[in-house]
Each structure stands twice: as C-alpha cells, then as structure tokens.
Amino acid sequence: MLSIIVFLPVAVAAGLLALPRLGDNAVRWTWIAASAVELVLVLGVWVGYDPAAPGYAYEVNRRWIPSVSSGYHLGVDGLSLPLVALTAVLFLACAIYSLRQTQRIRSFAALFLFLETVCLGLFVSLDLILFFVFFDLSIVGMYFVIAGWGHKGAARAALKFFLYTFVGSLALLLGFIGLYLSAEPHTFDIAQLAEQNPLAGQGVAGTLVLLALVVGLAIKTPTVPFHTWLPPAHTEAPAAGSAILAGVLLKLGTYGFVRIAMPLLPDTWRRYAWVIVIVGVLSVLYGALVALAQRDFKRMIAYTSVNHMGYIILAIGAAGLIATSNEQAHDLAVAGAVTQMVSHGLITGALFLLAGVLYERGHTYDMGSYGGLAASAPRFAGLTAIAAFASLGLPGFSGFIAEFQIFTGSLGATPVATALAFLGILISAALFLRAYQRIFLGPPRAAGGTTDLTAPETISIAPLMVLAVVLGLFPRFLLDVIEPAARTLGDLVSR
C-alpha cells in the first residue's frame, strides 16, 4: 500500500513524459487526478490507522542492499502519518493552482509528481539509506523547479540552494555512516538502531555523530545560522515551488530530528538539548525581526518560516531537557512540534500561493507598490487576512493549537527561552498586520491589478485555510494520532 502511494506519482510522471502527444490540458488534468488519487489513498491509510497499536503500520520490509544491511523498509506512525497527509494535500493544491501555468507544463507536472514521490517516500522511510536517497532527490527536484521556472535571479538562487542543502545532506550521510558502524551488527535500519541505541555512553563518538546529523538537518530546516539559502530560493522560485519548499521540504529537516536524531541518540540528545533550545530561540527571534524589516512580501513570508521552524526546534530541544523528569511536558512539546509542522505547511503553503497571486497581478513582490487591493479583490484580501491571522497564531487556527502546546510543554523546562520565544509571536503579529495594511488597505496604488482570485486559485488556497480552521477548532482527530507516537518517542529519548 505504502509503495503504491510513494511510487504512483513518479509512474504518472514517467507516463506524462513518455506520451509527448498528450495535450497541455490533458497533462494538467492528469496531474490533478493523480494528486487527488494520492490524497484519497492517504485518507484510506489514515482511516485504517490504529493509533493505539504499537510499532509501525503498513510496514514493508524487503532486502535491498544486504551487504550493508540496508533494506527497503517503509512504515507509518503518528509522527509521519500527519506529514504524509499534509504532503498529499499540498501537492493537490499546487496541482490545482497550476491550472493556469502555461510555461512547459509537461515538465513542470512531471517534476512536481516526482517531488511528491520523493517527499512521501522520505516520510515513510524506516531505513537511513532510503531516507537519504529521498532526502537528496528532493534537492535535485527542487533545484530544477527553481532553475527552470523561477524569476530573474533563479539560476543563482537555485545553485545556492543546491550547494547549501547538498552540503547538509553529506553531513547527514557522515552521521548515518557513523551510526551504521557503531551498531552491532552493523545496520542502517532505523527501527533496529532505535532499539539498539548504539552510541549510548560513547561520549565523543555520540557527540560527533549528533553534530553531523544536527548540522545536516538544521540546514534543511533551516535554523539560524544555516538559513541563508532560504530567502533567495523562496523569492526566486515559482509560487507552487515555494509552497512545496516551505510546506513540505522544510519538514524533511524537522521530521529528521524527531525520527532520527532524537530516538537514535537519546542520551547525547538530552546532553546537548540546551544547544538546540538556544538555536531554536535564536531562529524564532532572528526570523521574526528580519521578517519585520522586509519590504518584499515573499521574502517576508520566507523569514517567518525561519521563525516558525524555530518554535519546532525549541520544542524538541525542551523535550530533550525534560524527557526524564517530566514525561507529560515532553509529550506535549513533541506533539506541539509535529502539529506545528502540519499547521505551518498548510498556512505557509497558502501564503506562498497567495504571494504568487500577488505577483501575477502586479509583477512585483514589493509591498510599497501595492495598496487598497481589498476594494477591488475582496476574496483575495479575505483569504490573505485569514492566512495572516492563522500564521501569527490566533486562537481558532491550527497555529494556535501548535504553539500553545509548544509553549506549555517548554515553559517548565526553559522558562527564559520560552519567554523570549513568546516575543516572536508579538513581532510576527506586528509584521503581518503591517504587511496586510500596506497591500490591501488604504488608497489604491498603481501596481495592483483589479482582478480578484480566479476559480483555480480559490479552489487551491481556500481548502488549506479551511483545514487550518478545522484543525484549530477540532484538533482531536490529529492529536489522537500524534500523541501516542509522542509518548513512544518520549520512552525512547528518556532511556
């Protein structure tokens, strides 16, 4: 089942490339249909998933490279299932949003379907090599999206993105090899490694391996000080590319923390959790402050992503600090981190698509060139307002649920850091309100077009906001899946 979910999109992509006579419209609808089928399949998996059952669901474990004990091992649990669902939702939204895409639609669709396979594959991988394969392919896929369909400075931004994140992936690979060699018998299997806890009590080796993993994942996430690839990549990427980059690809990093770094190196993680907390708080504050200073709408959203990822890092750092002393707070922080991953994916995905709409109308992201759009484009203004409020964590939206859990879970562990991170919310409230005012309120300015959202734009963006509200009001169906997994992770980390 999982194999079908993972490889269906790439099979469709191969089909699209192999049938050059298919018309552009047929390509668009095939893409949408494939993404919709994916979503249905993922929903089927969700319905059939029993959160109370231990271990992984829908597990597949085949031999792949037995000489290095690396297998084709797939499975979902409460940490990965929400992200799998998020991936399916966002890729469908991007497929619908791209209905108006005209430039080389066939390659564009094939590339996105390929990326969907890669992202889904990463979330369900239970083998380090398989994880790494998908991790690296996500870089390649996104490179071509940015380089091929980006704005003016895309070539440079894409190169920076590739080099930067590739360095991260190699650091990750070094860490994986370290884990492999320290395990007895040697293995790349995540489940076995989590059971063995191979580097327990080995000070220096554990520290170095954790360092390699954290650097690799922190670049992907990204956190301060490894975030510098993110703003240019986002600014130059096409709207759908940005939505996927922020919505799904950044989660590959944070997911790596909860899937690999924490359970596989529990005692080292606990020892250095304070470093993680500091990195998290710095990302929160730095991201928010720099976002405040932006005039470019898309760049601003990019920096708020750094800020939002900071909350996740803070939560998992704090979780490491209190894993042994306060189980309940630990579970709360981890559940908050995973909820934040989903929530950020929905909200920021929507914001980037809205930024794409803005660019479509006025051919610039400069907020100073717009004004009074609310009068001529009420639906656009309304959706952006909802997305902005959701992003700053207003109650009633998914972001609030996530951040509430994160802060409640972390406060006991690191009161000072949590208080500082709280400031981040204030700053992001200020920056979103100011940006909204500039673009949508006040007297109309020259740049903004007058047309409101088209049907595909509305149909792609509105459901993301509806989901954010549903999660904000009725979070139980998500938390019921996440919380048992957070408890399992707590047991692993507190060893």
């Binding site: 490279i65 000489s67 394969v133 690296d136 380089a147 190699l170 070094l174």
Partner: protein, 472 residues
C-alpha cells in the same frame, strides 16, 4: 601436465577472446574494403559478449590461481573482466567518429589490446607480469591518442607517451629493486621478503611500482596527462583513456596493498589515504572553472579516482573494501561513458556554452547528460552513489574518518562544476545544436539508465562482488 595447462587456459577464455579477436581483426581488416570494416566492430563485440559469458561461467568456479600462481582468477579479476568488457561494448557504440576511416580496423584492434592489458593488470600476482601488462595497457593508448594525426592529438599522444615511458622505466627499476631485495617477483615471496628488507630500499621499490600504476589510474602525482589527452584526442579516445585503464590500475593497486604490502613496516594505507585526498581535491579544484567539456570531464575523472583510492587505502582493514571498490568501478565506468557518449553525440559542442539550450532540441540527450552528471556527483539512487556510500563506509571503518569528511566536502564542491554544465543544457534558449550523432546518442540512452540501475541493484551486485582476493 598438459591437461592442467588446458584447464588453466579454459579459465582464461575472456583474455583469449580479446587477444584472438585483436589478432584476427587485424588480419581480416587488412583484406576488407574500407566500407566493410564495420565487420571488425561486430567481431570485437562478439568477442566481448563471448568473454562476458565465459566470465559468468568462471564466476561459478572457486577462485583459482593459474600459471604457477602468477595470475589469479578470483572475484576481483572476474569483476574487472566484466566491467572492462561492458565498457568496451559501450565504447564500440561511440566510434561513429572513425566509421569508414582508413584506419578503422586499427582503432578497434588497439582498443581490444589495451582492454586486454588492463584485465591482466588487474589479475596479476607477479611483478613481471605486472610490467608486461602495464606496457600492453599503455602502448595501444599512445597510438590511439594520436589517432587523428592532427596537431592537438599528436601533442596529446606525445605527452602521454613521454610520461608513460618515464614511469614505465621507473616501474622496471622498482621491479628490479624489489626482486633483488626479496628474491622473487611473485607476491607471496614479496610479502615474505619486504618486511625483512632494508626499509628505505623496499620503500623506493614499492613507490616506483605504485607510481606507474597511479599513472595508469590518472591519480596524483602522475595525473598531468589526463586533461591534455582527453581534450586533445578524439572524443571516443577520451572516453577510453579515462575509463578502461583506470579499472585495471585500481584493482592492481588494491592487490598490491592487500598482499605484499600488508605486513610491511611502513604505513602504506596511510600513503594511499593521502594520495586519495590529494587526487580528489586537486581534480575538483582544477575542474571548477573549466569551460571545455572534455577538460572538465578529465578533471572530474581525476577526482573520481581519488574516491576510488579510498577503497585501496581501506584494503585489508574493512571487509567492505573490495566489494565497494568493484562496485564503484562498475558504476563509474558506466556513468563516465554515458557522459562521454553525450559528448561524442554532439561533436560540434565543445564548450559549456555550446550546450546551452540542449533541452530544446535534444530533450532526451539533455536528460541523459543530467542523469550521468548527477550520477558522477553521487546523487542517489545512481550507481556512483552506492559506490560512494560503500567506499565511504569502508574508509570510515578502516579508521580514515578525516578522509571521509574530506571526500564529503569534495563531493559537495563537485556539485558546482557539474551544475555549470547541467544548468545551460537544461535551459530552453535558442541553440546552435540541432543534430545529434544517432549511434552515440543511443549509447547515451543505454548508459544513463544503466548507471541508475547499478545503484538500484547495488544489493545483488555487492553480493556478487563479496569476497577476498586470492594470492596464489
């Protein structure tokens, strides 16, 4: 005695096929009219296929040493045979350049002879045979480098010859010295003799032998010929010299480190680790701002040899060293030939800017090029990724953590220059490229998926390559 001799010859069928087809090809070729010389290609291809079949049969047999232990038919030799023969088949697909050339037969014969030399280089357990194989693997290539008889080719051939002759003489000196010190030329005798011999004298001898193999592999400090020959000679010749001799040389180095030097007092693995580090770094740095695609590929092959030498450094210290070396060689050969196939398919495009807009007229060729170049970077799930993964693991296991870190940094840096080629090729701006040579293009279409297949099938391939070398 006679029965044993026949049996031993039976184990050497792949080598015999290569030698026989070279001799036969030369004879037949002299009587064939120019437009029928393609028959020699068919003969060579048949010889390779027959060689592959007998290699598979040999694989099922237990490892044996033939000719009084001077030549091993073991996993390393069989893997080398398979990789070299497949490489020759790919190269035969790139030779549209010499179609109906008046020396077409000679081209194929020289290719077969150098392939034979490289296989023997990989299999030998004896310094004298190593010397002979070195010459057999080198001399045909000097001629091939100057095949076009144009001035860049002649210059390339001369440089290649001078450096090769110098290191050939150095090698003979080393062989002489080591024979004198240990009283024999076969590896077991050397393994016994070298530890007792005066360290300095033994070191000089070993270094002289190693240097010549590094020349064949195109590794530091004997890498100077690689860019000049690759750029100066015809594109198919560039493909040959950067692929085929490296396979034999890398395996020969592995054999040398694993057997006679295993017990030596000097830290030979460390020397190879340093050589690997220098080779990969120098190759990468030099490739950075190349604008000629063949020169860029030449430096890229130097850096690849650096990664390969990591497995040599890990010889005897990690069970993964030999399988990883052979896997990397197989993946590298296919991927590198795939990249060269694209170059051969577009003879008009010489610089990176010439490739601008390739996607527009030759989308599949652009895709093949992208796959091969990303493969050379080591992007999963291509073969070179699997090779790198296992080689890195072997070196890590052998205690060379610093080398693995350096190799990772180098890999990341290499992305830059491969992307300098991929990026213009994937753009869709107007271009001068319209026509692609069909046979070389077909070869590229075969090599690119093959390079991915090696990665996906890494499990079974590694299982086949598992084992140890046989020292008589």
């Amino acid at each position: 005695m006679e029965g044993m001799m026949t049996q031993e010859l039976g184990l050497l069928l792949p080598e015999i096929f290569l030698a026989a087809s070279a001799v036969l090809g030369l004879l037949i070729g002299s009587y064939l009219p120019r437009r029928r010389q393609w028959l020699i290609h068919v003969l060579a291809a048949l010889a390779c296929l027959a060689g592959l079949a007998s290699t598979v049969l040999d694989w099922l047999e237990p490892s044996t040493a033939v000719f009084e232990g001077s030549y091993s038919v073991d996993i390393a030799t069989n893997a080398t045979r398979a990789v070299v023969l497949v490489s020759v088949l790919f190269v035969l697909g790139l030779t549209a350049d010499v179609r109906s050339h008046k020396r077409e037969t000679e081209f194929v014969v020289l290719l077969l002879l150098s392939a034979l030399g490289t296989v023997i280089l990989a299999g030998t357990n004896d310094l004298l045979l190593l010397g002979a194989a070195y010459l057999l693997a080198s001399v045909p290539l000097y001629a091939l480098a100057a095949f076009a008889k144009d001035s860049p080719g002649t210059e390339a051939g001369l440089k290649f010859y001078l450096l090769g002759a110098l290191l050939g003489v150095t090698m003979l000196f080393g062989i002489m010295l080591l024979t004198g010190l240990s009283g024999g030329t076969d590896y077991p005798t050397l393994a016994d003799g070298i530890p007792d011999a005066p360290t300095a004298a033994a070191a000089v001898g070993v270094i002289a032998v190693i240097a010549s193999l590094l020349f064949k592999a195109g590794a530091v400090p004997a890498q100077f010929w690689v860019p000049d020959v690759t750029q100066g000679a015809r594109p198919p010749v560039g493909a040959i010299v950067t692929t085929i001799p490296k396979i034999g040389a890398a395996v020969a180095l592995y054999r040398l480190v694993a057997a006679p030097l295993g017990l030596a007092s000097l830290d030979w693995p460390l020397l190879f680790a340093v050589l690997a580090a220098a080779t990969m770094t120098l190759g990468n740095l030099a490739a950075f701002f190349q604008s000629d695609v063949r020169r860029l590929l030449a430096y890229s092959t130097i850096s690849q040899i650096g990664y390969l030498l990591m497995a040599v450094a890990a010889a005897g210290r990690s069970t993964l060293a030999l399988p990883s070396l052979l896997l990397y060689l197989a993946a590298y050969a296919v991927t590198n030939l795939g990249a060269f196939a694209v170059v051969c398919a577009l003879p008009g495009a010489r610089t990176l800017t010439d490739y601008s807009g390739l996607r527009r007229h030759q989308p599949w060729l652009a895709l093949g090029l992208t796959i091969c170049l990303l493969g050379l970077v080591g992007t999963p799930p291509t073969g070179v990724f699997a090779g790198k993964l296992t080689v890195f693991t072997a070196a890590f296991d052998a205690g060379f953590v610093w080398l693995v870190v350096l190799a990772a940094v180098n890999t990341a840096a290499s992305v830059f220059y491969y992307l300098r080629w991929i990026a213009p090729a994937m753009r869709s701006n107007p271009t001068t490229i319209e026509h692609a040579e069909p046979r070389a293009a077909t070869t590229a279409y075969l090599a690119a998926p093959a390079s991915v297949a090696v990665g996906i099938l890494a499990g079974p391939i590694l299982a086949v390559f598992q084992g140890n070398i046989l020292i008589s």
